[in-house]
Symmetry: C2
Subunit: 276 residues, 2 copies
């Protein structure tokens, strides 16, 4: 595995490999890799000849009061995990933008509500960095985790709207043995906070069980979920269409439950299919 | 020359040709082609193996009170002119966007002021359609006219910021024998309006002469230009940096004069180098 921090060198190699008929795969991350990330590398590996993973904590997608400065980092551990999963090139830019960068990519509709409500410029930052990373890496296929499901749908929409010839694949959410969705931010949690945070996936499971048992009304399902949640602050609990993320009143097709809550200074998200 | 209206077929052929090592060239237009456009085809022709020109009157870049519905069209004449200049594929989509298209590309700074002031969503529409057309056509090289100089700089900035591996080339503005900048919208002008419209390039020429004679102060230069202009309404007359388009008080490097004015219901623009 090669490590490269210069985006021009990455783009040049990507274009050369494409010209030789190789298939380029890409998994962008913010590092501090866990099994959620490595599962994405494993998904991408058989789908390409040359697998690029990036580690870049993108300032554009953090709000002014968020955890950009203390976002956890583990460069050596990340490199070992990427190598073990067969990543060919680890792209680790220290800066990615020109000094006078002035292009913003905004994806409406799918970024309305959910995390888009409490993090107003977050998805603009995500769409912009992914558009730029796609330009650098020139992938045929890119893999994003369903953990950030709204982000995944936003990337799918942007890729479609800008006619990018990139196959976007969603990788299933990976959980710890106790059911907590894996997240680099779990490192912030105290033991007591972590125990309460298990209520997030339990709430989604309760809702899915209720759907399986015949409950269709979103208000009833949300009430079932809300009863379970123990959090310092519940940011949202919602049921949305699984593709375009429009809010649903009834679950009668592909639907998904979404939850965000804070424990101390740590904001966690989770989601799962509620399809009937 | 082949004509194709299906964007998927264009993208498929572009990717196949790139995979075979061919170089793809692209000139996007809104049709009603004149020598300004054909000069861009001629610039692109020797720079690529496969030359695509598009004709698409992009609704996203027209304001609600603008001339989208009456924008002049000449499909047969356009095809003959494109063929004569060696265009290989004329891409003529009737629709280009998905029903629920929701991605916008915004380029700040270079779209501030000038045409960005009087046409508030114009450059968002331009950046979005060009990003999508770049996705479809997958060009190595793309040519845009300096007639729309602010648009050209915006495309350059967007291409840089999104790390698109596309060489963007500006083609010199082409004038009629009387000096009027060629524009599809000149077709709207009465004879009397056209005569007065000559004052636009004359004003820019006066300013360039004054720079050559040693005048450096932008206010003095603008006063010289303003004295010449006969228009129903002067939208703007400005001097800006030739690259990042920031307003200049002094001409002491690469500078450009920009003018926009209306004659009846017709809005015309012109620009020229004022470099000392």
């Amino acid at each position: 595995m090669r490590t490269e921090s210069d985006w021009r060198a990455v783009q040049e190699e990507a274009l050369q490999r494409r010209a030789r008929g190789e298939r380029v795969g890409f998994v962008p991350t913010m590092g501090f890799l866990h099994r959620g990330h490595t599962s994405l590398f494993a998904l991408a590996r058989p789908r390409c000849d040359w697998l690029v993973a990036s580690i870049f904590v993108n300032p554009l997608q953090f709000g002014p009061t968020e955890d950009l400065g203390r976002y956890p980092r583990d460069p050596e551990g990340d490199a070992a995990k990427a190598r073990a999963e067969g990543v060919d090139l680890l792209f680790t830019p220290t800066t990615l933008y020109h000094r006078d960068h002035s292009t913003r990519v905004i994806v409406d509709q799918v970024s309305d509500g959910l995390c888009g409500a409490s993090r107003p410029t977050h998805f603009e930052g995500v769409a912009t960095v992914v558009a730029r990373l796609f330009g650098v890496v020139q992938p045929h296929v890119a893999v994003f985790g369903e953990k950030d499901y709204q982000q995944l749908q936003l990337i799918r929409r942007m890729t479609r709207d800008l006619a990018l010839p990139i196959e976007v694949i969603g990788g299933p959410l990976v959980r710890d043995a106790d059911g907590l969705a894996l997240s680099s931010r779990n490192a912030y949690l105290s033991e007591e906070q972590r125990t309460r945070a298990l209520s997030l996936h339990q709430a989604l499971d309760d809702m899915a069980e209720a759907v399986a048992a015949g409950t269709r009304d979103a208000a009833d399902l949300l009430e079932i979920g809300r009863r379970r949640i123990h959090a310092d602050r519940l940011d949202y609990l919602e049921i949305r269409d699984a593709t375009d993320l429009r809010p649903l009143n009834q679950v009668d097709g592909p639907a998904r439950g979404f939850v965000a809550a804070t424990y101390g200074g740590t904001r966690l998200i989770d989601n799962r299919s509620l399809s009937s």
